[in-house]
């Protein structure tokens, strides 16, 4: 509860700060402080120190899983603001508003971590995505940014419509908006499990949520939007927001899809989506010339891996998705932080970076290795947990083999960047690099290696 309310309050503070604080440079310090407050408040909430106590009538459910994810999301955005906060003020003169919108997104993210009702799911998704439409188009003078915002807005609102339709159908089939349904007394159940209307509703919900996490075949908006949006905000969208989408998705799967699995073969549906997502993401990423666009496709490919947790809804998958969202968010924030500093976003732009900025190249290598899933980085254990969860379900072993093959494909395009940085001659031009920026990158790289060596330091928080 702390996180939901405090993030909204801090967003209002940032909004009012836009005309009360005169120095533009102060906004990111206020935002970083706000995220720190949020982080502490959320951890306090985990151990029962809640500032706001009122009856929410079962609309929210506060679980350890939700709290831990929320802590990870807030911590990632804190790191995001610390490293790339300076870049946010580059776009227009509405810096405070951008931070306010980021806090509103955090409010939506917290809601998705705790929702227990389809209405709060809808609210959370909307609170999370509407500020993103604005952030996507924040570079007002740039046509590509405008195009991306319009595209994102139109497609996003369409998928919201589909989600609402799914919620209505599900209501028709169960008589309640709550996630927990007692199906006794509902007439005419298909296979004595679920009514036809509920299954139609769940399928529509699956489509709209798959859109939000950009799983194929609902991924078409992703490359254009990620490419067109200002790089700082792409970084935010591709990490924290995407992970929150998955947390919402896995909760729906854990409750509703598990309960109706006798009526419809969800595993088969997810298997198809996973294969399509891995195929589209990885194969298309191979042919990209711009690193930013490659990262957009790579985020689709990574979503394919995260989808494994929805496929095998067990404890291993729950642990895995937390680890994955931490590993993926940290690595991607790091890569984007380096990307924003580059003058040229193509692969050629990275040529010879290792000679000019050895530290940037080294940390960037750690991030790329983590995304590729090389051992001793966080990405390895993240992928390991995902695949182990599938193995534990005991079926669909071929899916694991396909996933490993695609992971091997992904190594190709991640290593292309490393090759450009270290083994090609060129004059990689960067903007001015401050020592604090370098320190931030080192911190993220250290965290990634730390999680890669001891994945327990995150997962243990789930149990005590």
């Amino acid at each position: 509860m702390n996180a939901i309310i405090l993030s909204a309050i801090w967003a209002v503070i940032m909004m009012l700060g836009s005309f009360m604080v005169k120095r533009k440079g102060n906004f990111r310090h206020i935002a970083a402080f706000g995220l720190l407050v949020l982080f502490v408040a959320n951890i306090a909430d985990t151990y029962g120190y809640s500032l706001f106590n009122f009856n929410n009538h079962g609309f929210l459910q506060f679980t350890r899983f939700g709290y831990l994810f929320n802590s990870i999301a807030i911590f990632s955005s804190l790191i995001y603001v610390l490293i790339t906060g300076k870049e946010i003020s580059r776009y227009g003169n509405h810096t405070a508003e951008y931070f306010a919108l980021i806090f509103f997104v955090m409010c939506g993210v917290s809601m998705l971590a705790f929702y227990n009702n389809l209405l709060t799911l809808f609210l959370g998704i909307e609170i999370m995505t509407i500020p993103l439409y604005i952030l996507t188009g924040s570079d007002k003078r740039n046509m590509k940014s405008n195009e991306a915002a319009l595209k994102y807005f139109l497609m996003g609102s369409f998928s919201t419509g589909i989600m609402l339709m799914g919620i209505v159908f599900s209501y028709g089939g169960t008589g309640t908006f709550s996630l927990d349904v007692s199906r006794a007394g509902i007439p005419n159940l298909y296979n004595h499990v679920a009514s036809f209307l509920e299954i139609v509703g769940l399928l529509l919900l699956l489509v709209s949520l798959a859109f939000k996490v950009s799983a194929a075949p609902f991924h078409f908006w992703t490359p254009d939007v990620y490419d067109g949006a200002p790089s700082v905000f792409t970084s935010f969208m591709a990490t924290i927001v995407k992970a929150a989408g998955f947390i919402a998705f896995i909760k729906l799967c854990l409750v509703r899809m598990t309960a109706t699995s006798a009526a419809i073969d969800w595993k088969m549906i997810f298997a198809i989506i996973i294969i399509a997502t891995l195929l589209v993401g990885n194969i298309t990423a191979v042919f990209q010339q711009s690193v930013k666009r490659m990262l957009a496709y790579s985020s689709i490919a990574q979503a394919g891996f995260m989808l494994f947790s929805l496929f095998s809804v067990n404890d291993f998958a729950k642990e895995g998705i937390l680890l994955y969202s931490a590993a993926y968010s940290l690595a991607t924030i790091g890569i984007f932080a380096v990307l924003v500093k580059m003058k040229d976003y193509t692969f050629e732009g990275y040529n010879g970076l290792a000679k000019k900025q050895p530290l940037l190249a080294a940390t960037n290598t750690v991030f790329l290795l983590s995304l590729a899933g090389i051992p001793l980085t966080a990405g390895f254990f993240a992928k390991y947990y995902m695949l182990a969860a599938v193995v534990k379900t005991g079926s669909y072993l071929w899916l694991v083999i396909v996933a490993v093959l695609f992971a091997a494909v992904s190594v190709y395009y991640y290593f292309r960047v490393i090759q450009a940085m270290y083994f090609k001659d060129g004059n990689a031009e960067t903007e001015a690099i401050t020592p604090s920026f370098k320190a931030g990158l080192l911190l993220v790289a250290a965290l990634i290696i730390l999680i890669g060596v001891y994945p327990g330091i995150i997962l243990n928080w789930l149990y005590f």
Binding site: V12, M15, L16, S18, F19, P187, N188, Y190, F196, L197, I199, A263, I264
Partner: protein, 134 residues
């Protein structure tokens, strides 16, 4: 899942999707009726095109000029803000209807809502969105 199965399932028992069949028939009838009427009047009706008839209808005034003229962004801003605040008023109606039942807790919630509302309004004024002259 087999769609045929579902249909067989539902037709046999009461209180189910089959109850909605009359509604479906009505929908099809309504859409079909409109489509038929439009098509019929298009085919059968007489066609006498005059220059007056082909002109755009603008409430009797003669049309002049192009509608696509550049316009100050202020108009849009004020119009959008007006619509925004106008729509927010809709949320007061459910409260007004349930005024007595909700009691004091409802009153405090609506106060909270109005407070948020006011913060937005203060923000708009302070950021100069309603300033007409630059």
């Amino acid at each position: 899942m087999n769609i045929l199965n579902i249909l067989i399932d539902t037709v046999s028992s009461p209180g189910s999707t089959s109850d909605y069949l009359p509604i479906a028939i009505q929908l099809i009838f309504a859409a079909g009726f409109v489509a038929t009427m439009i098509a019929l009047s298009h085919w059968i009706g007489p066609k006498r095109n005059t220059s007056d008839k082909l002109e755009n209808f603008t409430s009797g005034i003669e049309t002049h000029g192009d509608a696509r003229q550049p316009m100050a962004i202020k108009y849009f801003l004020v119009a959008i803000l007006f619509v925004l605040f106008d729509v927010e008023v809709i949320f007061f109606y459910p409260y007004a209807v349930n005024f007595k039942e909700l009691g004091w807790s409802g009153f405090f919630e609506i106060i909270l809502f109005v407070a948020f509302f006011l913060i937005g309004f203060i923000y708009i004024i302070k950021s100069g969105a309603l300033k007409w002259e630059d």
